[in-house]
């Protein structure tokens, strides 16, 4: 059975890019997409995907808040943070329990970026 992913980003363009990558390159089924942290929490509960990608700068509830809410209820959730943000907030997200982090811009035009992204996802899926 296909692995499932929920993609959460307030940029529809980025969601489209990530959706194509997960379905066409990694063979995932995109269970749902959302554009703010509140939707992230709802969608995680509804779909319980193998992986959820989380932007940080989002309206309503930001990615850090959504990450904390999801992990409070589902400690085994695999959350991959995908953001342009740098600095202490990232470390905070990893400390809370995000499995890993991919830094924007997403360079799907580069082979090394795709290779590293794939490796990151594989590593997360193998984690407990």
């Amino acid at each position: 059975m296909d692995k499932t992913v929920v993609i959460v980003d307030d940029s529809k363009f980025q969601t489209m890019q990530l959706g194509r990558f997960f379905s066409d390159v990694l063979g995932f089924k995109v269970a749902a997409t959302g554009e703010n942290g509140e939707e992230a929490v709802e969608m995680y509960k509804a779909h319980k995907p193998d992986l959820i990608t989380m932007d940080l700068t989002m309206p309503k509830l930001d990615g850090r808040g959504a990450l904390a809410q999801i992990l409070a209820e589902f400690p085994q959730a695999r959350v991959l943070v995908i953001s342009a943000v740098k600095g202490p907030l990232l470390l905070e997200c990893l400390a809370i329990g995000a499995k890993s982090y991919v830094e924007k811009p997403l360079r799907f035009d580069r082979e090394d970026f795709i290779r590293d992204f794939k490796a990151t996802v594989t590593e997360i899926l193998q984690s407990a």
Binding site: D10, T57, M58, D62, R64, G87, L89, K104, P105
Partner: protein, 194 residues
């Protein structure tokens, strides 16, 4: 760094934080910060462009002695805020460029949908720039607590134009001549102690 979920807190929050943490009086000279941001801005915009558009754009610094008006029906804006500084960034792309980009990048999508995706892609560029500016501001004053708002799309036409004093801003024009694509990027850099 924090992100701000419900809109930009703006000047008041920056001022409050600046006073609370007692760093405003000792903050760097405005001209130094503007020069630093101005010198890095083109690189940051190019970084954001690389994640979104395949076409190479060339950036040109535009001098503005008086008032620079951000004026267009579709403007993307975003705030990066530290206790001492705020940087409000704007990306302005005219509709004809957006339509051309939409056709070029998303030929299989209906025109309206492609247009929305181009606006979203432009917002992603502004978001990348603002995220890095927030990081730069935090490094400047060795203060980790910087904030960014989510990018917003707004109508800045006519009386809703946003006016920036020339000495408070950095202004760039970007063009991809072979594809007849162009956009403007403006950053308004203000000390929140002012």
């Amino acid at each position: 760094m924090k992100t701000v979920g419900k809109g930009a807190p703006g000047l008041r929050l920056g001022l409050r934080n600046g006073i609370r943490y007692g760093i405003i009086a000792g903050s760097m000279k405005e001209s130094v910060v503007r020069d630093l941001i101005g010198n890095n801005l083109v690189r940051l915009i190019n970084g954001g462009l690389q994640g979104v558009y395949p076409d190479p754009f060339a950036g040109r610094l535009v001098k503005s002695e008086g008032i620079y008006a951000v004026q267009s029906p579709v403007v993307i804006s975003q705030l990066a805020l530290s206790p001492a500084w705020q940087v409000l960034s704007f990306l302005i792309m005219e509709t004809d460029s957006m339509i051309r980009l939409g056709k070029r990048m998303l030929p299989d999508r209906p025109r309206e949908e492609a247009l929305k995706l181009v606006i979203s892609a432009n917002a992603e560029i502004v978001n990348f720039v603002s995220s890095r500016l927030a990081w730069l501001l935090s490094k400047l004053e060795n203060f980790p607590e910087t904030e960014i708002s989510p990018p917003k799309v707004g109508n800045f036409s006519g009386t809703q134009a946003f006016r920036i004093r020339g000495d408070e801003g950095v202004f760039y024009e970007f063009a991809c001549s072979p594809q007849h694509l162009a956009f403007k990027f403006a950053a308004c850099i203000q000390s929140v102690a002012a």
